[in-house]
Each structure stands twice: as structure tokens, then as C-alpha cells.
Subunit: 282 residues, 2 copies
């Protein structure tokens, strides 16, 4: 019924997949029955044949928008949660920087950081997104990276004493500038590097030596390794959504036929919030 | 009496320091008495005034060469030990790559890897050093990086199924090639990046995105954070030296006046094994 659009699923020459919310129309699997609402990796299609049900979750709570299971209560939400809490080991009072901060993952990392008593700044690619970060998602500050001639100087403006935690979504020049501004024993959760995916030759990152000199831990991760803790995540985040303590924005497009344009839009930064496609209204 | 020469201590405009073995000639500190043999960070000088004795260790075992406390039983040895065991979390049967492998740290990492049941390959910059790695230090294989036109191809030759653990001593092009060859969930201990220290602009590393796609953990560390476990290290390594299960090579130069040339030699790879200067024979 809903499909989230994600750059990582767009491998050339492969059938395109995405995290979807769906209703079971038929099942021989004991855990899934006809009529069950589920979320997990489906295809860009109206009906999907699921051969590997390990990473599918039955939806138990329907008092939130079902599309949330493609986002805040699905893969991006769990990515933000486990990436921030498990990979970054945040402590109260630490400083956090999030790139691509208005995206589905970034907007949540920022809010988790605030809930943990951290100072958090985000970067995004338009004035509209920067306003959202500051006024809707409660980031302490935010900036438009496209308007910064020198990212190193921009970061120094917001982090006079340096960055404890960087939630990395973009790579390239931003990572280079961040490395110069990391504190001793800083942590970088390498969640994605969207600026690099469409380049023939990825950009060189020159300040990697900072990892040695500042004893930085940089760690790539996949949410798949944390799905066994999904119930704990749901238990924590669901009440916060209902109490209005966590805000979430989606960019909803109608019709499966609009999915290709929505995917292309991700690379130019057109979307605001998680890009979702409505496949069917039922 | 002995002084180890280390590139990291050669900051421009600063008094040059190095890990030294010394005898206390006078002390007002309750833990150190006249006549005690100690090791720790001293100056390039015949007599040192120690104002911060926290990182000084009293030498209890004198049945090994005292110069070993500038190396295998001192800072480089503890760096290899804690970097390999604590940062890399090795498991039996894993594959390990060590760059600058004939250096004081590298030669020990390789031997620890073998003692842990790993497959280990090292790179070095001369035929002589490669021979040492294979024939003296027990590396499974070794290669001369200067004779490899393509480091990626060289690594694929030794690691057909990829690298689990990389002990990083050089940075730059080698790191770039290693990233392409790391396995899923590989670990990189970022100990040093000697190839980058004397460059005006550090080289760009293009394959950092592998950290994300392969869920690699890359971690800089300093041995200072592990010194509280030094007694455990000594307890493990000292018997292995006495039983001949760990071999160690030093490059010993006579006289403090030879220290500058010895330091410069490090950058051209002239030394084989830990570069040590004899300041006094007593």
C-alpha cells in the first residue's frame, strides 16, 4: 500500500526494491496470515511474492499512519535509533552533527540527540529544510551547506569546541571538513554517503589521518544487524510519537507510476522528509 | 641510557621527545628512588627532568636487554598488543594485513596474529625487510609495496576472500587499496599514517564509502588509554620472549649525536626494526 523510496535500493540492472507496507493476500508461512498488515522489503509493484520473510514485521499498532512503517517506525527509524544509540554511544551534553539532516533518518537522529540532552546541529540543502530543522525538529541550529564556501569554517561556527558525534549521511567534502572538527575520541556512524553514489570516481577524503591523531572511531553499520531489538525500539519510539515528543515528516506521492521520478528527486534533494509512494489506498 | 626514535615525537618547533630507558639520579616522588631503572617519555638529552611521572614505569625485569623497554616491552610493544587485541578483536582463523610490518609495532602485530591462529601478511619497503617478515617473524607472506604497480591487485593475491583485520601504519594509497579488499564487518586499527606526515596536503582516500557498504569499524587509538593494563601485557609477553616465541629486532645506533640522522632515516625507510639510540652504556 505504501512504498518508501531509497537510493541504496537503486542498483543498476537489478529489480528495484524498497521498504513497503502491505497487506497479506495469501500466505503459507505460519507467522503471516491473510489480512495481516506487514512491513519489510518489497518490490516496486502492486503485488509482491515474498520468498524471504525473515525481515518482515507484522504491524500490531494501527493507531498511527500506516505509512510510518516505511519510515519512522520502519527501516529509517530503526536505522536512526540503533545508529545513534548503539554506534555513537551518546552521552548527555555531547555535541552532535547530522548531515542530510532533514531526511528520514537525519530528522530522527536530531530528535533522539535532543531527547538525550545533546547539542545538535544539522546540515541540509535548502532554506526550507534548514527552517524545518530549526523550527519543527528542534535542532539547536542548522545550515544550508550549499551556501557555505568553506564547510570547515561553517562547522567551526557551530562547534567551537568540536564535534563528539557525527552521523554521516553524505560523505565527500563534508566528511573531510567534519574530520578536522572532531573532538578527541569522537564517533562517526557511517550510515550513508549519498554525495558519492553517482560519481565515476569517489572524491578523495584528505583528512583521514585525523582518525589516528584524534582516536576517532568511525563505523559503518546496517540496521539488519539490530532488527532483533526492533520490539525495544518500537516500545521506546511509539509512545513518543503519540505524546508528540517526536515529529516526523513524509513527502507522499500518489501512484506507483510516480516512483521513478521520486527516486531521481532524491539525488537532487527535491524531497523534504521521507519519500513515500502510495501504491494503493487500502 | 636508551632512546627510541619515533616520528610522532618530531613536531616542528617543539623540543624533541622519545621513549627512553633511564636511571633515576634524584627523585622527590615516592614511587621512584635513586638508582631505579625506569622507562617512559624522556627528551633527546643525557639528563631529563621529569615533571609528569604518571606515564613512567619502573623496570622490574632486567633479564632481557634494557633497550627492549624502548620497544617490545615499552610503548611500541604495548601499542601492538592493545591495538591488536583490544581494537581489532581478532578471532582464530581470521585474515590480518599489517603495513610497515617490519617496524617495531608491525613485527609484533604479525607475531601476535600468528599466536592467535590468524593468517597474516605484511608489507614493507625492501627485499631485506620482506625476507625478515617471512623468515624471521613468521608472517605467512609478505610483499614489497614499492614493487607493486597496483596495491589492490597485490592485496587480492594474498587475500582472495578479503581482509578481516588491517593494522594501519601508513595511510594514503595503501589504505585506499585495503578498503576495497576488506571483508564485511572488518576492523581497521588506525595506529599511524607515516606516508602522510610530511605531505603539504594529505593524499585523498577515495574508497571511504567502503566503511559504510561493508560495515567496517575503523578506530584510531593511543596506547596511553591502555597503560593501566601494562602489567597484564608484561605478564603475557615477557615469558614469550624468554621462550623464544616472540622475536624482536632493533636497529641500534651509538650516541645521542646520531639521533637526528636516525629520525630522518625513518622517513626514507632506512631502519630495520625499532630505531634505538644508545645515549649511555650504563
Amino acid at each position: 500500500m505504501y512504498l518508501m523510496i531509497n537510493v541504496e535500493e537503486s542498483s543498476y540492472g537489478m529489480p528495484i526494491t524498497g521498504n513497503g507496507v502491505a497487506k497479506v493476500v495469501d500466505s503459507t508461512h505460519p507467522n503471516f496470515n491473510k489480512g495481516d498488515l506487514i512491513w519489510g522489503m518489497t518490490g516496486w509493484e502492486e503485488y509482491s511474492l515474498i520468498k524471504s520473510p525473515e525481515y518482515f514485521f507484522k504491524i500490531q499498532h494501527t493507531d498511527v499512519p500506516l505509512s510510518y512503517y516505511t519510515g519512522i517506525l520502519g527501516m529509517p527509524g530503526a536505522t536512526a535509533y540503533f545508529g545513534f544509540y548503539e554506534v555513537c554511544s551518546p552521552k548527555k551534553g555531547e555535541t552532535v552533527f547530522v548531515s542530510a539532516a532533514s531526511g528520514a533518518v537525519g530528522q530522527l537522529v536530531g530528535q533522539f540527540a535532543k531527547l538525550s540532552g545533546c547539542y545538535v546541529v544539522g546540515s541540509a540543502g535548502s532554506k526550507e529544510k534548514v527552517d524545518l530543522l530549526k523550527n519543527k525538529f528542534g535542532f539547536d541550529d542548522a545550515f544550508n551547506y550549499k551556501e557555505e564556501p568553506d564547510l570547515n569554517i561553517a562547522l567551526k561556527r557551530y562547534f567551537r569546541d568540536g564535534i563528539d558525534i557525527y552521523f554521516e549521511n553524505v560523505g565527500g567534502k563534508m566528511l573531510d571538513a567534519v574530520l578536522l572538527n572532531m573532538k578527541l575520541r569522537g564517533r562517526i556512524a557511517a550510515c550513508g554517503m549519498i554525495s558519492q553514489y553517482n560519481l565515476e570516481q569517489p572524491e578523495g577524503v584528505h583528512n583521514i589521518f585525523c582518525i589516528t591523531t584524534k582516536q576517532i572511531r568511525m563505523e559503518g553499520f546496517t540496521v539488519l544487524d539490530y532488527y532483533h531489538n526492533y520490539p525495544k525500539f518500537l516500545e521506546t519510539v511509539l509512545p513518543k510519537i503519540k505524546e508528540g515528543k517526536i515529529t516526523y515528516i513524509e513527502d507522499i506521492t500518489e501512484g506507483l507510476e510516480s516512483a521513478p521520478a521520486a527516486l531521481i528527486g532524491l539525488f537532487s534533494g527535491r524531497n523534504v522528509g521521507k519519500q513515500v509512494v502510495v501504491v494503493a489506498h487500502e
